[in-house]
Symmetry: C2
Subunit: 410 residues, 2 copies
């Protein structure tokens, strides 16, 4: 596979993409809470959205746009208010937002995508949203800083912003793919993450952009959980403006494969950043299941472990309570034989074998506890049954998760 | 329906049942950690067990006994060590326990049922178990106190013991049904509760005892969740020794209906006691879904709400964050129309309408917060779709849940 290089930046890394992040006073004081992504060139667009039956108004809006338009040009995002459970008024506010965006950027209304994150059940303060859009129009730049501002503006209880970008070559042209996302709480994506935005200057057909994104989320964002609560607002969008100048990808050729590989790198990195910054988290908690019979078996087992409240609390306590891991695998619904499997803990400080062929090893609790004190902890499960594998990402369960969520609205 | 009267006591309430709770030093110091239930008369027995693929050795043992024997006479329980993930040695220890019980009580080995609860992955200290059995044989009594001692001895992180008993008349004979259970953590039963034991002097066929129990757990223990972790040890047993002298129930007659009603009362009460004493809980958190199209729809929606970490944290914070409840209903997998439903909070201090026909009411946050400060909080969801209903029970998510589970083993 062609070499894919990690570079600085996020949504403005790719050619022709502008961004901005401004203070609009939606809910928070003295912080950026509205973000923009914009491209002068029309973009192919694809998206995946929450599977929650209760969908935010902006999710319904975006689903229409992604399904029906050939090209999009702008994404506008606010944090603080989710515009979910807001009835017909909530949807009208999406229309008003699109109208205002169309005016401010001289683009079509249906080239505008909208995303919101925050408290459910409150209506958007439309006067502030409209003023915010004017500010975004003034502030937009195609710089690294502008991308960073946008990544900051979409945060809620996130403790840091999340960006990642890569570049690779196709037909002798440099292609760039970058993105940003936010996560933190109500994170258990079942189509895609809470909010994620990818931009690329790749030239690709709408169908293949859609297919590549849909397949990739299965092994990236859909393998993340912070608290088992699938949000009403989960949205992942990708915009491709074609400015790299490669020959348009219209079949599953070599260029398509390279793009899929780059997409997987960016999505995996953003998914891990999101998991590691889960509400109250002190560690990124990864589970890898290897030598499984099927990919689906590996996915179900890995995800069950990172979703277990008891296991997550044990990780927070640096306690090698491996019984809870076996328990979580056992109730996952996937078949496996606990009598033949091995289980390891891995951290930056080393790897330790805990359980071999169905029986606990004579491991050192002290050494295990040291590994579990790392900021990234991996549970490695070797099923010894086949050749498939999967990884899932979550975080530990801490006092701060409870604190943040006991008084989130106050 | 005949009147069913609540009475004092638990597993010794019914005629002919003895119990004991003693200190055996399995894991804890200075507390009772082995329990006995015993009947001189042979008992019809039925049980439901964890659906976890990783089953404790004692679960495998009991499944054999319940399936194959006509009568049982004794249940021996230890807390502190779960005898799960202990391989073939764990099962041998069950055999040794049954042999020792058979000697001490002059009964058949296969009339002995065994249950364990505690840390996964440790072997039972068999020397202490055997000494404990001798102590149980000396201590057994058919008194209320002996039943209370047994209920104490099965506790792990439970903060209080859980018992309940009722009596009713059949054929002019008094019939008694009592029980005890323990819960606290790793509670998300998917066949029955962590550990529950029911005794009755009813005369009933094995088939009908089994059927009544199997049906009843669906709406009682299976509607409880503390943390979403289905244990490796879930076990619910019922022993019926026939000493009440009623005509043996062998068909689904009126007497069977009365018994099912009594069984549901006892199981519902024990299930609620377990939920309200979940690890770290400050409140019993109930969700009732009414006017649903189907029973299953009501069950799925109610259970999804009481399982939501975000909703549980909001209850802990006395925060009327109803959007999280709608979110949890939305990702449950059950169909419903959020635009036609109503949602109330109920506590001892009153009832408040929060959400009507898809839109938030102009409720008082202060009044809602007061209701959410009660020790029992109910979310009442009116779907306005049909005539079915269901309830589910959990608890709030507190700092103490994290504390208890971050250092459970140390």
């Amino acid at each position: 596979m062609d070499s894919i290089k990690i570079i600085q930046g996020g949504v403005t890394a790719a050619k022709g993409f502008f961004a901005a992040g401004v203070e609009a006073g939606i809910k928070y004081e003295n912080r950026k809470d509205m973000a923009l992504i914009y491209s002068d060139s029309p973009c192919r667009v694809a998206g995946t959205f929450t599977s929650n039956l209760v969908k935010a108004a902006c999710v319904l809006w975006d689903q229409e746009v992604v399904e029906n338009v050939e090209y999009a040009q702008a994404v506008v995002v606010n944090s603080g208010v989710a515009n979910a459970c807001t009835g017909s008024q909530g949807y009208e506010y999406c229309e008003q937002t699109a109208v205002k965006m169309a005016e401010a950027f001289s683009i079509d209304q249906d080239a505008v995508l909208i995303a919101s994150t925050g408290v459910i059940g409150k209506q958007l303060p439309m006067d502030r949203i409209k003023i915010g859009i004017d500010k975004l129009a003034l502030a937009k730049e195609n710089t690294i800083e502008a991308g960073a501002n946008a990544a900051e503006a979409i945060m809620t209880t996130d403790t840091h912003s999340k960006q990642f970008a890569v570049e690779f070559e196709l037909d002798g042209k440099k292609v760039t793919l970058g993105g940003m996302c936010k996560g933190s709480g109500m994170i258990h994506p079942n189509m895609c993450t809470m909010l994620g935005f990818l931009t690329t200057d790749l030239s690709i057909s709408k169908e293949l952009l859609k297919e590549a994104l849909k397949l990739d989320v299965v092994d990236t964002y859909n393998m993340v959980s912070v608290d088992g609560d699938t949000s009403t607002n989960d949205t992942l969008l990708i915009l491709a403006n074609g400015e790299a100048g490669n020959e348009e990808i219209t079949s599953k050729n070599y260029a398509y494969e390279v793009f899929c590989k780059a997409l997987n790198m960016v999505n995996t990195e953003l998914a891990k950043q999101m998991a590691g910054d889960g509400e109250g988290a002190t560690a990124l908690f990864e589970t890898k299941v290897i030598h499984a019979k099927t990919k689906e078996q590996a996915r179900v087992l890995a995800k069950s472990v990172i979703c277990s409240s008891l296991t997550k609390a044990a990780i927070f306590g640096h306690d090698a309570n491996w019984g809870r891991i076996l328990c979580a695998m056992g109730y996952s619904g996937a078949e496996f034989n606990p009598d033949y499997m091995d289980l390891y803990f891995q951290g930056k400080s080393g790897t330790i074998l805990i359980f071999r062929d169905g029986v606990a090893t004579d491991y050192s609790e002290e050494e295990a506890s040291k590994i579990l004190s790392d900021s990234q902890v991996t549970v490695l499960v070797d099923l010894k049954e086949g050749t498939c594998e999967a990884a899932a990402w979550g975080c530990d369960l801490s006092y701060d998760y409870v604190k943040i969520n006991a008084d989130y609205r106050s």
